[in-house]
Protein backbone atom coordinates (compact mmCIF):
# COMPACT_ATOMS: atom_id res chain seq x y z
CA UNK A 1 0.00 0.00 0.00
CA UNK A 2 2.81 2.32 1.02
CA UNK A 3 4.48 1.17 -2.14
CA UNK A 4 1.88 2.80 -4.36
CA UNK A 5 2.12 6.09 -2.55
CA UNK A 6 5.82 6.48 -2.95
CA UNK A 7 6.93 8.01 -6.19
CA UNK A 8 10.71 8.16 -6.57
CA UNK A 9 10.46 11.27 -8.72
CA UNK A 10 8.69 13.29 -6.05
CA UNK A 11 11.12 12.08 -3.45
CA UNK A 12 14.02 13.13 -5.65
CA UNK A 13 12.58 16.63 -6.04
CA UNK A 14 11.94 16.82 -2.31
CA UNK A 15 15.52 15.79 -1.63
CA UNK A 16 16.81 18.56 -3.89
CA UNK A 17 14.62 21.04 -2.08
CA UNK A 18 16.21 19.96 1.19
CA UNK A 19 19.73 20.30 -0.18
CA UNK A 20 18.84 23.73 -1.53
CA UNK A 21 17.52 24.76 1.87
CA UNK A 22 20.94 23.95 3.32
CA UNK A 23 22.50 26.10 0.61
CA UNK A 24 20.08 28.92 1.31
CA UNK A 25 20.99 28.69 4.98
CA UNK A 26 24.66 29.04 4.09
CA UNK A 27 23.92 32.45 2.55
CA UNK A 28 21.62 33.37 5.43
CA UNK A 29 24.22 32.73 8.10
CA UNK A 30 26.99 34.68 6.36
CA UNK A 31 24.65 37.57 5.64
CA UNK A 32 23.58 37.55 9.29
CA UNK A 33 26.86 39.25 10.12
CA UNK A 34 26.65 41.49 7.07
CA UNK A 35 28.91 39.54 4.74
CA UNK A 36 27.94 38.53 1.21
CA UNK A 37 29.63 35.42 -0.09
CA UNK A 38 29.52 34.54 -3.77
CA UNK A 39 31.83 31.62 -3.11
CA UNK A 40 29.13 29.19 -1.99
CA UNK A 41 29.44 27.19 -5.20
CA UNK A 42 33.18 26.92 -4.52
CA UNK A 43 32.68 25.70 -0.95
CA UNK A 44 30.04 23.31 -2.24
CA UNK A 45 32.56 21.96 -4.75
CA UNK A 46 35.14 21.49 -2.00
CA UNK A 47 32.66 19.43 0.02
CA UNK A 48 31.46 17.43 -2.96
CA UNK A 49 34.86 16.60 -4.42
CA UNK A 50 36.41 15.76 -1.06
CA UNK A 51 33.87 13.12 -0.22
CA UNK A 52 33.58 11.90 -3.82
CA UNK A 53 37.32 11.31 -4.10
CA UNK A 54 37.63 9.75 -0.66
CA UNK A 55 34.70 7.38 -1.06
CA UNK A 56 35.35 6.32 -4.64
CA UNK A 57 39.14 6.03 -4.51
CA UNK A 58 39.78 4.92 -0.96
CA UNK A 59 36.50 3.32 0.01
CA UNK A 60 36.20 5.53 3.02
CA UNK A 61 32.79 5.22 4.73
CA UNK A 62 30.27 7.79 3.53
CA UNK A 63 29.88 9.42 6.89
CA UNK A 64 33.61 9.99 7.17
CA UNK A 65 33.79 11.31 3.62
CA UNK A 66 30.95 13.76 4.19
CA UNK A 67 32.41 14.97 7.46
CA UNK A 68 35.80 15.40 5.80
CA UNK A 69 34.13 17.46 3.07
CA UNK A 70 32.44 19.67 5.64
CA UNK A 71 35.65 20.13 7.60
CA UNK A 72 37.71 20.97 4.53
CA UNK A 73 35.10 23.47 3.35
CA UNK A 74 35.23 24.97 6.84
CA UNK A 75 39.01 25.24 6.72
CA UNK A 76 38.77 26.97 3.35
CA UNK A 77 36.13 29.19 4.92
CA UNK A 78 38.56 30.25 7.63
CA UNK A 79 41.36 30.76 5.11
CA UNK A 80 39.20 32.94 2.87
CA UNK A 81 37.35 34.51 5.78
CA UNK A 82 40.19 35.82 7.92
CA UNK A 83 41.94 37.96 5.34
CA UNK A 84 38.62 39.04 3.90
CA UNK A 85 37.86 40.85 7.14
CA UNK A 86 39.95 43.66 5.84
CA UNK A 87 37.67 44.05 2.86
CA UNK A 88 34.61 46.22 2.66
CA UNK A 89 31.38 44.41 1.76
CA UNK A 90 31.55 44.70 -2.00
CA UNK A 91 35.14 43.58 -2.24
CA UNK A 92 34.50 40.60 -0.02
CA UNK A 93 31.84 39.52 -2.49
CA UNK A 94 34.29 39.82 -5.38
CA UNK A 95 37.07 38.02 -3.53
CA UNK A 96 34.72 35.13 -2.78
CA UNK A 97 33.59 35.08 -6.39
CA UNK A 98 37.29 34.85 -7.33
CA UNK A 99 37.69 32.00 -4.86
CA UNK A 100 34.78 30.08 -6.39
CA UNK A 101 36.24 30.44 -9.86
CA UNK A 102 39.71 29.37 -8.72
CA UNK A 103 38.25 26.20 -7.23
CA UNK A 104 36.44 25.46 -10.47
CA UNK A 105 39.44 26.17 -12.71
CA UNK A 106 41.57 24.03 -10.41
CA UNK A 107 39.16 21.12 -10.68
CA UNK A 108 38.97 21.41 -14.46
CA UNK A 109 42.74 21.46 -14.75
CA UNK A 110 43.80 18.70 -12.36
CA UNK A 111 42.50 15.90 -14.55
CA UNK A 112 44.63 13.21 -12.97
CA UNK A 113 42.91 13.76 -9.66
CA UNK A 114 39.45 15.09 -10.43
CA UNK A 115 38.89 13.81 -13.99
CA UNK A 116 38.64 17.45 -15.04
CA UNK A 117 35.60 18.66 -16.92
CA UNK A 118 34.28 15.11 -17.34
CA UNK A 119 33.52 14.85 -13.66
CA UNK A 120 33.39 11.96 -11.24
CA UNK A 121 30.78 9.27 -11.65
CA UNK A 122 29.96 6.18 -9.66
CA UNK A 123 30.04 7.96 -6.34
CA UNK A 124 28.43 5.67 -3.74
CA UNK A 125 24.77 6.51 -3.39
CA UNK A 126 23.55 7.39 0.05
CA UNK A 127 20.31 5.36 -0.15
CA UNK A 128 22.01 2.35 -1.73
CA UNK A 129 24.72 2.28 0.95
CA UNK A 130 22.18 2.42 3.75
CA UNK A 131 20.13 -0.34 2.18
CA UNK A 132 23.26 -2.51 1.81
CA UNK A 133 24.07 -2.02 5.48
CA UNK A 134 20.51 -2.88 6.46
CA UNK A 135 20.39 -5.96 4.25
CA UNK A 136 23.42 -7.31 6.06
CA UNK A 137 21.43 -7.38 9.27
CA UNK A 138 18.60 -9.09 7.47
CA UNK A 139 16.33 -6.16 6.57
CA UNK A 140 14.24 -6.40 3.45
CA UNK A 141 12.35 -3.36 2.12
CA UNK A 142 9.56 -5.77 1.12
CA UNK A 143 8.58 -5.79 4.78
CA UNK A 144 7.38 -2.25 4.26
CA UNK A 145 5.89 -3.16 0.93
CA UNK A 146 8.54 -1.21 -0.92
CA UNK A 147 10.73 -1.98 -3.88
CA UNK A 148 14.46 -1.53 -3.30
CA UNK A 149 14.70 1.68 -5.30
CA UNK A 150 11.64 3.17 -3.62
CA UNK A 151 13.22 2.45 -0.28
CA UNK A 152 16.52 4.09 -1.21
CA UNK A 153 14.78 7.30 -2.32
CA UNK A 154 12.63 7.29 0.78
CA UNK A 155 15.50 6.77 3.19
CA UNK A 156 17.54 9.55 1.53
CA UNK A 157 14.61 11.90 1.84
CA UNK A 158 14.07 11.05 5.49
CA UNK A 159 17.75 11.44 6.27
CA UNK A 160 17.95 14.82 4.56
CA UNK A 161 14.78 15.91 6.29
CA UNK A 162 16.28 15.08 9.67
CA UNK A 163 19.47 16.96 8.79
CA UNK A 164 17.50 20.01 7.69
CA UNK A 165 15.30 19.97 10.80
CA UNK A 166 18.39 19.78 12.98
CA UNK A 167 20.03 22.64 11.07
CA UNK A 168 16.93 24.80 11.19
CA UNK A 169 16.70 24.30 14.95
CA UNK A 170 20.39 24.99 15.28
CA UNK A 171 20.26 28.28 13.42
CA UNK A 172 16.96 29.52 14.86
CA UNK A 173 18.29 28.97 18.34
CA UNK A 174 21.60 30.55 17.48
CA UNK A 175 19.75 33.57 16.11
CA UNK A 176 17.90 34.16 19.36
CA UNK A 177 20.98 34.01 21.50
CA UNK A 178 24.03 35.97 22.45
CA UNK A 179 25.78 34.77 19.30
CA UNK A 180 22.88 35.76 17.06
CA UNK A 181 22.66 39.18 18.65
CA UNK A 182 26.40 39.64 18.09
CA UNK A 183 25.94 38.74 14.40
CA UNK A 184 23.13 41.21 13.86
CA UNK A 185 24.88 43.93 15.85
CA UNK A 186 27.86 43.57 13.52
CA UNK A 187 25.54 43.55 10.54
CA UNK A 188 23.91 46.81 11.60
CA UNK A 189 26.92 48.76 12.86
CA UNK A 190 30.37 47.25 13.20
CA UNK A 191 31.83 50.08 15.22
CA UNK A 192 28.95 50.20 17.66
CA UNK A 193 29.19 46.43 18.01
CA UNK A 194 32.86 46.65 18.87
CA UNK A 195 32.17 49.32 21.48
CA UNK A 196 29.65 46.98 23.08
CA UNK A 197 32.49 44.55 23.63
CA UNK A 198 31.76 42.27 20.69
CA UNK A 199 34.83 40.71 19.13
CA UNK A 200 33.98 41.61 15.55
CA UNK A 201 36.77 39.58 13.97
CA UNK A 202 35.83 36.41 15.79
CA UNK A 203 32.14 36.59 14.99
CA UNK A 204 32.67 37.51 11.36
CA UNK A 205 34.99 34.57 10.81
CA UNK A 206 32.59 32.35 12.75
CA UNK A 207 29.64 33.26 10.56
CA UNK A 208 31.66 33.03 7.36
CA UNK A 209 32.98 29.61 8.36
CA UNK A 210 29.54 28.35 9.32
CA UNK A 211 28.35 29.39 5.87
CA UNK A 212 31.25 27.62 4.20
CA UNK A 213 30.63 24.44 6.19
CA UNK A 214 26.94 24.46 5.31
CA UNK A 215 27.76 24.85 1.62
CA UNK A 216 30.34 22.06 1.97
CA UNK A 217 27.75 19.83 3.61
CA UNK A 218 25.23 20.53 0.88
CA UNK A 219 27.88 19.74 -1.74
CA UNK A 220 28.85 16.47 -0.05
CA UNK A 221 25.21 15.37 0.22
CA UNK A 222 24.60 16.40 -3.37
CA UNK A 223 27.46 14.17 -4.50
CA UNK A 224 26.04 11.14 -2.70
CA UNK A 225 22.48 11.77 -3.78
CA UNK A 226 23.28 12.23 -7.46
CA UNK A 227 26.36 9.96 -7.51
CA UNK A 228 27.80 12.11 -10.28
CA UNK A 229 29.45 15.53 -10.04
CA UNK A 230 31.33 17.74 -12.48
CA UNK A 231 32.71 21.27 -12.39
CA UNK A 232 29.62 22.38 -14.32
CA UNK A 233 27.60 21.86 -11.13
CA UNK A 234 29.57 24.52 -9.30
CA UNK A 235 29.67 27.55 -11.57
CA UNK A 236 28.86 31.20 -11.03
CA UNK A 237 25.31 30.27 -12.04
CA UNK A 238 25.07 27.99 -9.08
CA UNK A 239 26.37 30.70 -6.76
CA UNK A 240 23.75 33.13 -8.06
CA UNK A 241 21.03 30.50 -7.76
CA UNK A 242 21.96 29.90 -4.13
CA UNK A 243 22.00 33.64 -3.50
CA UNK A 244 18.53 33.91 -5.01
CA UNK A 245 17.11 31.26 -2.65
CA UNK A 246 18.04 33.39 0.29
CA UNK A 247 17.46 36.87 -1.13
CA UNK A 248 14.05 35.98 -2.53
CA UNK A 249 12.84 33.95 0.44
CA UNK A 250 14.18 36.38 2.99
CA UNK A 251 17.74 36.83 4.15
CA UNK A 252 16.98 38.02 7.68
CA UNK A 253 15.32 34.90 8.98
CA UNK A 254 15.90 31.15 8.86
CA UNK A 255 12.44 30.70 7.39
CA UNK A 256 13.45 32.78 4.38
CA UNK A 257 15.91 30.20 3.11
CA UNK A 258 13.32 27.46 3.58
CA UNK A 259 10.66 29.32 1.67
CA UNK A 260 13.02 30.55 -1.05
CA UNK A 261 14.62 27.18 -1.72
CA UNK A 262 11.29 25.35 -1.69
CA UNK A 263 9.47 27.80 -3.91
CA UNK A 264 12.26 28.25 -6.42
CA UNK A 265 12.97 24.51 -6.68
CA UNK A 266 9.30 23.64 -7.14
CA UNK A 267 8.59 26.41 -9.62
CA UNK A 268 10.48 24.97 -12.60
CA UNK A 269 9.38 21.45 -11.67
CA UNK A 270 5.70 22.27 -11.69
CA UNK A 271 5.78 24.71 -14.57
CA UNK A 272 7.90 22.93 -17.12
CA UNK A 273 7.64 25.82 -19.55
CA UNK A 274 9.43 28.02 -17.06
CA UNK A 275 12.29 25.65 -16.50
CA UNK A 276 14.12 26.80 -19.58
CA UNK A 277 13.97 30.43 -18.45
CA UNK A 278 14.90 29.67 -14.88
CA UNK A 279 18.01 31.82 -14.68
CA UNK A 280 16.34 34.73 -16.40
CA UNK A 281 13.63 34.56 -13.76
CA UNK A 282 16.24 34.44 -11.01
CA UNK A 283 17.80 37.55 -12.49
CA UNK A 284 14.51 39.43 -12.62
CA UNK A 285 13.68 38.30 -9.09
CA UNK A 286 16.96 39.66 -7.74
CA UNK A 287 16.39 43.04 -9.37
CA UNK A 288 12.76 43.29 -8.30
CA UNK A 289 13.47 42.18 -4.75
CA UNK A 290 16.26 44.73 -4.34
CA UNK A 291 13.99 47.49 -5.59
CA UNK A 292 10.85 46.66 -3.64
CA UNK A 293 11.62 44.26 -0.84
CA UNK A 294 15.35 43.95 -0.18
CA UNK A 295 14.80 41.86 2.94
CA UNK A 296 12.98 39.14 0.97
CA UNK A 297 9.44 37.78 1.03
CA UNK A 298 9.61 36.64 4.63
CA UNK A 299 11.10 39.16 6.99
CA UNK A 300 11.64 39.75 10.66
CA UNK A 301 8.44 41.76 11.03
CA UNK A 302 6.39 38.93 9.61
CA UNK A 303 7.97 36.47 12.01
CA UNK A 304 7.28 38.80 14.93
CA UNK A 305 3.67 39.09 13.87
CA UNK A 306 3.35 35.29 13.69
CA UNK A 307 4.96 34.92 17.08
CA UNK A 308 2.67 37.48 18.65
CA UNK A 309 -0.39 35.79 17.18
CA UNK A 310 0.80 32.42 18.41
CA UNK A 311 1.49 33.94 21.80
CA UNK A 312 -1.97 35.43 21.96
CA UNK A 313 -3.63 32.19 20.97
CA UNK A 314 -1.71 30.29 23.62
CA UNK A 315 -2.70 32.86 26.18
CA UNK A 316 -6.28 32.50 25.04
CA UNK A 317 -6.04 28.74 25.38
CA UNK A 318 -4.85 28.87 28.97
CA UNK A 319 -7.50 31.42 29.89
CA UNK A 320 -10.22 29.12 28.59
CA UNK A 321 -9.05 26.27 30.73
Amino acid sequence: MLGELINPYYLQVASFILINIILGLSIYVTLASGQLSLGSAGFMAVGAYTTALLTTNFEVPLLVGILAGVMLAGIFGIIVGIPSLRLRGVFLAIATLGFGEIVRVFIVNTESLTKGAIGISGIPQLGREILDKLEVIGFDPEILGLKANQFTFLIVFILLLIIVIVLVCFFSRQKNSRVGRAFSAINMDEQAAASMGINVTYYKVLSFTQGAMLAGLAGALYAHVLSYISPADFTYHKAVEILTFSVFGGSEVVGGAIFGATFLTLLPETLRAISEYRYMIYGILLVVMMAYRPQGVIDEQMMRWFKRRKGRRQQHGTENK
Binding site: S177, V179, M196
Partner: protein, 257 residues
Protein backbone atom coordinates in the same frame (compact mmCIF):
# COMPACT_ATOMS: atom_id res chain seq x y z
CA UNK B 1 43.08 56.87 39.48
CA UNK B 2 40.42 55.55 37.10
CA UNK B 3 41.81 56.85 33.86
CA UNK B 4 45.08 58.53 33.11
CA UNK B 5 45.61 60.21 29.75
CA UNK B 6 49.30 60.64 29.24
CA UNK B 7 50.60 63.03 26.56
CA UNK B 8 48.20 61.93 23.85
CA UNK B 9 48.67 63.37 20.37
CA UNK B 10 46.77 62.54 17.23
CA UNK B 11 47.47 63.63 13.70
CA UNK B 12 45.16 63.19 10.72
CA UNK B 13 47.38 63.77 7.72
CA UNK B 14 48.28 67.39 8.23
CA UNK B 15 45.67 68.16 10.88
CA UNK B 16 46.67 67.94 14.50
CA UNK B 17 43.50 66.91 16.28
CA UNK B 18 45.16 66.47 19.68
CA UNK B 19 48.55 67.59 20.86
CA UNK B 20 50.12 66.43 24.11
CA UNK B 21 46.95 66.27 26.10
CA UNK B 22 47.16 64.85 29.62
CA UNK B 23 44.56 64.61 32.35
CA UNK B 24 43.17 62.06 34.69
CA UNK B 25 39.89 61.07 36.24
CA UNK B 26 39.42 59.97 39.83
CA UNK B 27 36.96 57.41 41.04
CA UNK B 28 33.35 58.54 41.31
CA UNK B 29 33.70 61.92 39.70
CA UNK B 30 31.95 63.45 36.72
CA UNK B 31 34.56 65.06 34.53
CA UNK B 32 33.43 67.42 31.79
CA UNK B 33 35.36 67.59 28.53
CA UNK B 34 34.45 70.76 26.68
CA UNK B 35 35.75 72.91 23.89
CA UNK B 36 34.57 74.57 20.68
CA UNK B 37 33.65 72.54 17.60
CA UNK B 38 36.57 70.59 16.20
CA UNK B 39 38.58 70.93 19.42
CA UNK B 40 39.32 67.20 19.46
CA UNK B 41 36.86 65.97 22.08
CA UNK B 42 35.39 63.10 20.08
CA UNK B 43 38.88 62.23 18.89
CA UNK B 44 39.85 61.84 22.55
CA UNK B 45 36.99 59.37 23.02
CA UNK B 46 38.18 57.49 19.94
CA UNK B 47 41.66 57.28 21.46
CA UNK B 48 40.36 56.00 24.79
CA UNK B 49 38.19 53.35 23.16
CA UNK B 50 40.81 52.38 20.57
CA UNK B 51 38.62 53.21 17.62
CA UNK B 52 41.71 55.03 16.40
CA UNK B 53 45.30 54.65 17.55
CA UNK B 54 47.02 57.72 18.99
CA UNK B 55 50.05 59.07 17.14
CA UNK B 56 51.89 59.22 20.45
CA UNK B 57 51.22 58.98 24.16
CA UNK B 58 49.46 56.34 26.20
CA UNK B 59 46.41 55.74 28.32
CA UNK B 60 46.05 53.68 31.46
CA UNK B 61 42.93 52.46 33.18
CA UNK B 62 43.24 51.63 36.88
CA UNK B 63 47.03 51.76 36.46
CA UNK B 64 46.97 49.30 33.58
CA UNK B 65 48.10 50.23 30.08
CA UNK B 66 45.17 50.00 27.69
CA UNK B 67 46.57 51.66 24.58
CA UNK B 68 46.99 49.04 21.88
CA UNK B 69 44.06 46.90 22.99
CA UNK B 70 41.16 46.34 20.62
CA UNK B 71 37.90 48.24 21.11
CA UNK B 72 36.04 45.22 22.40
CA UNK B 73 38.77 44.42 24.89
CA UNK B 74 38.56 47.92 26.29
CA UNK B 75 34.83 47.55 26.77
CA UNK B 76 35.47 44.29 28.56
CA UNK B 77 37.93 46.10 30.84
CA UNK B 78 35.09 48.39 31.87
CA UNK B 79 34.99 51.46 29.62
CA UNK B 80 31.91 52.02 27.50
CA UNK B 81 30.81 54.95 25.40
CA UNK B 82 27.92 56.54 23.57
CA UNK B 83 28.27 58.24 20.20
CA UNK B 84 27.81 61.85 19.18
CA UNK B 85 25.84 60.75 16.12
CA UNK B 86 23.68 58.08 17.74
CA UNK B 87 24.67 54.56 16.72
CA UNK B 88 21.97 52.20 17.89
CA UNK B 89 21.20 48.87 16.31
CA UNK B 90 18.26 50.23 14.36
CA UNK B 91 16.53 46.98 13.43
CA UNK B 92 16.68 45.52 16.92
CA UNK B 93 14.02 46.14 19.50
CA UNK B 94 14.83 48.41 22.41
CA UNK B 95 15.31 45.54 24.80
CA UNK B 96 17.47 43.60 22.33
CA UNK B 97 19.69 46.66 22.03
CA UNK B 98 20.25 46.65 25.77
CA UNK B 99 20.72 42.88 25.93
CA UNK B 100 23.38 43.17 23.24
CA UNK B 101 25.13 45.60 25.54
CA UNK B 102 25.57 42.73 28.02
CA UNK B 103 27.61 40.80 25.49
CA UNK B 104 30.96 41.12 27.19
CA UNK B 105 29.53 40.20 30.60
CA UNK B 106 28.07 36.93 29.36
CA UNK B 107 29.65 33.77 28.08
CA UNK B 108 27.31 31.43 26.22
CA UNK B 109 28.83 30.42 22.91
CA UNK B 110 27.36 28.59 19.93
CA UNK B 111 26.93 25.20 21.59
CA UNK B 112 25.36 26.42 24.79
CA UNK B 113 22.99 28.60 22.78
CA UNK B 114 22.01 25.76 20.50
CA UNK B 115 21.49 23.21 23.26
CA UNK B 116 19.82 25.79 25.49
CA UNK B 117 21.73 24.60 28.50
CA UNK B 118 20.62 25.53 31.96
CA UNK B 119 23.40 28.06 32.39
CA UNK B 120 22.52 29.66 29.05
CA UNK B 121 18.84 29.99 29.96
CA UNK B 122 19.80 31.36 33.32
CA UNK B 123 22.11 33.87 31.69
CA UNK B 124 19.47 34.96 29.17
CA UNK B 125 16.97 35.50 31.95
CA UNK B 126 19.47 37.50 33.95
CA UNK B 127 20.36 39.85 31.13
CA UNK B 128 16.71 40.20 30.20
CA UNK B 129 15.83 41.21 33.73
CA UNK B 130 18.81 43.49 33.93
CA UNK B 131 17.87 45.09 30.62
CA UNK B 132 14.35 45.74 31.92
CA UNK B 133 15.78 47.32 35.00
CA UNK B 134 18.09 49.56 32.98
CA UNK B 135 15.21 50.56 30.73
CA UNK B 136 13.29 51.52 33.80
CA UNK B 137 16.25 53.64 34.89
CA UNK B 138 16.26 55.56 31.59
CA UNK B 139 12.48 55.59 31.48
CA UNK B 140 12.02 53.46 28.35
CA UNK B 141 10.41 50.37 29.80
CA UNK B 142 7.14 50.92 27.95
CA UNK B 143 8.94 51.10 24.62
CA UNK B 144 10.88 47.86 25.09
CA UNK B 145 9.36 46.06 22.09
CA UNK B 146 9.69 49.02 19.73
CA UNK B 147 12.40 48.94 17.08
CA UNK B 148 15.36 51.15 17.91
CA UNK B 149 14.94 53.19 14.75
CA UNK B 150 11.34 54.07 15.62
CA UNK B 151 12.20 55.88 18.84
CA UNK B 152 12.17 59.65 19.14
CA UNK B 153 15.52 61.38 19.17
CA UNK B 154 15.77 61.97 22.90
CA UNK B 155 14.66 58.41 23.58
CA UNK B 156 17.38 57.09 21.28
CA UNK B 157 19.97 59.00 23.28
CA UNK B 158 18.69 57.48 26.51
CA UNK B 159 18.60 54.02 24.97
CA UNK B 160 22.24 54.41 23.99
CA UNK B 161 23.06 55.17 27.61
CA UNK B 162 21.12 52.12 28.82
CA UNK B 163 22.91 49.94 26.26
CA UNK B 164 26.28 51.23 27.44
CA UNK B 165 25.31 50.63 31.08
CA UNK B 166 24.46 47.02 30.26
CA UNK B 167 28.16 46.41 29.67
CA UNK B 168 28.68 47.21 33.36
CA UNK B 169 31.26 49.91 32.83
CA UNK B 170 33.37 51.37 35.58
CA UNK B 171 33.87 54.42 33.38
CA UNK B 172 31.15 55.74 31.12
CA UNK B 173 31.98 58.09 28.25
CA UNK B 174 29.08 60.25 27.07
CA UNK B 175 29.49 62.18 23.80
CA UNK B 176 27.05 65.08 23.73
CA UNK B 177 24.10 63.24 25.28
CA UNK B 178 21.99 66.41 25.41
CA UNK B 179 22.35 67.23 21.73
CA UNK B 180 18.90 67.59 20.19
CA UNK B 181 17.09 67.34 23.51
CA UNK B 182 14.54 69.88 24.67
CA UNK B 183 14.73 71.64 28.00
CA UNK B 184 12.59 69.13 29.87
CA UNK B 185 14.61 66.21 28.54
CA UNK B 186 17.86 67.95 29.46
CA UNK B 187 16.68 68.34 33.03
CA UNK B 188 15.90 64.64 33.15
CA UNK B 189 19.26 63.87 31.61
CA UNK B 190 20.97 65.75 34.41
CA UNK B 191 19.10 63.62 36.91
CA UNK B 192 20.00 60.47 35.00
CA UNK B 193 23.70 61.31 34.90
CA UNK B 194 23.89 61.96 38.63
CA UNK B 195 21.92 58.77 39.24
CA UNK B 196 24.48 56.83 37.21
CA UNK B 197 27.26 58.38 39.21
CA UNK B 198 25.48 57.35 42.39
CA UNK B 199 25.51 53.79 41.05
CA UNK B 200 29.27 54.03 41.44
CA UNK B 201 30.16 54.71 37.83
CA UNK B 202 32.74 57.33 36.93
CA UNK B 203 31.70 59.57 34.06
CA UNK B 204 33.52 61.50 31.37
CA UNK B 205 31.07 63.87 29.70
CA UNK B 206 31.44 65.78 26.45
CA UNK B 207 28.76 68.42 26.20
CA UNK B 208 28.06 71.74 24.53
CA UNK B 209 25.15 72.60 26.81
CA UNK B 210 27.03 74.79 29.28
CA UNK B 211 24.38 75.11 32.00
CA UNK B 212 24.18 71.31 32.06
CA UNK B 213 27.96 70.95 32.21
CA UNK B 214 28.34 73.49 34.99
CA UNK B 215 25.54 71.93 36.99
CA UNK B 216 26.63 68.30 36.50
CA UNK B 217 30.41 68.19 36.48
CA UNK B 218 32.77 68.08 39.42
CA UNK B 219 35.69 69.14 37.29
CA UNK B 220 36.15 70.27 33.72
CA UNK B 221 38.91 69.91 31.13
CA UNK B 222 38.84 72.40 28.25
CA UNK B 223 40.31 71.64 24.84
CA UNK B 224 40.91 74.12 22.06
CA UNK B 225 42.52 73.26 18.74
CA UNK B 226 43.70 69.97 20.21
CA UNK B 227 45.42 71.53 23.20
CA UNK B 228 44.34 71.44 26.80
CA UNK B 229 43.89 75.09 27.78
CA UNK B 230 42.34 74.74 31.20
CA UNK B 231 41.38 72.30 33.88
CA UNK B 232 39.53 72.93 37.12
CA UNK B 233 36.25 73.31 38.92
CA UNK B 234 33.28 74.75 37.03
CA UNK B 235 33.49 78.11 38.79
CA UNK B 236 37.14 78.58 37.95
CA UNK B 237 36.61 77.49 34.35
CA UNK B 238 33.75 79.93 33.90
CA UNK B 239 35.97 82.86 34.76
CA UNK B 240 39.13 81.59 33.08
CA UNK B 241 40.15 84.23 30.49
CA UNK B 242 41.72 81.65 28.13
CA UNK B 243 38.50 79.69 28.04
CA UNK B 244 36.37 82.76 27.46
CA UNK B 245 38.66 83.78 24.63
CA UNK B 246 38.46 80.34 23.02
CA UNK B 247 34.69 80.40 23.16
CA UNK B 248 34.36 84.00 21.99
CA UNK B 249 36.45 83.09 18.97
CA UNK B 250 33.64 80.81 17.80
CA UNK B 251 29.97 81.42 17.27
CA UNK B 252 27.78 82.29 20.16
CA UNK B 253 25.88 79.06 20.53
CA UNK B 254 28.35 77.69 23.04
CA UNK B 255 27.97 80.66 25.36
CA UNK B 256 29.79 80.02 28.53
CA UNK B 257 27.81 81.70 31.24
Amino acid sequence: MVLKINNISKQFGGITALSNVSFSITEGEILGLIGPNGAGKTTMFNMITSVLAPTSGDISFYDEQISGLKSHQITTKGICRTFQNIRLFPEMTVIENVMTGSHCRTKSGVWKSVFRTKSQKQEEKEIYDKAKQLLETVNLLKERETLGKNLAYGQQRRLEIARALASEPKLLLLDEPAAGMNEQETVELHRLITKIRDMGITILLIEHDMPLVMKTCDRIVVLNFGKKIAEGEPKAIQSNPEVIKAYLGTEGDDDIA
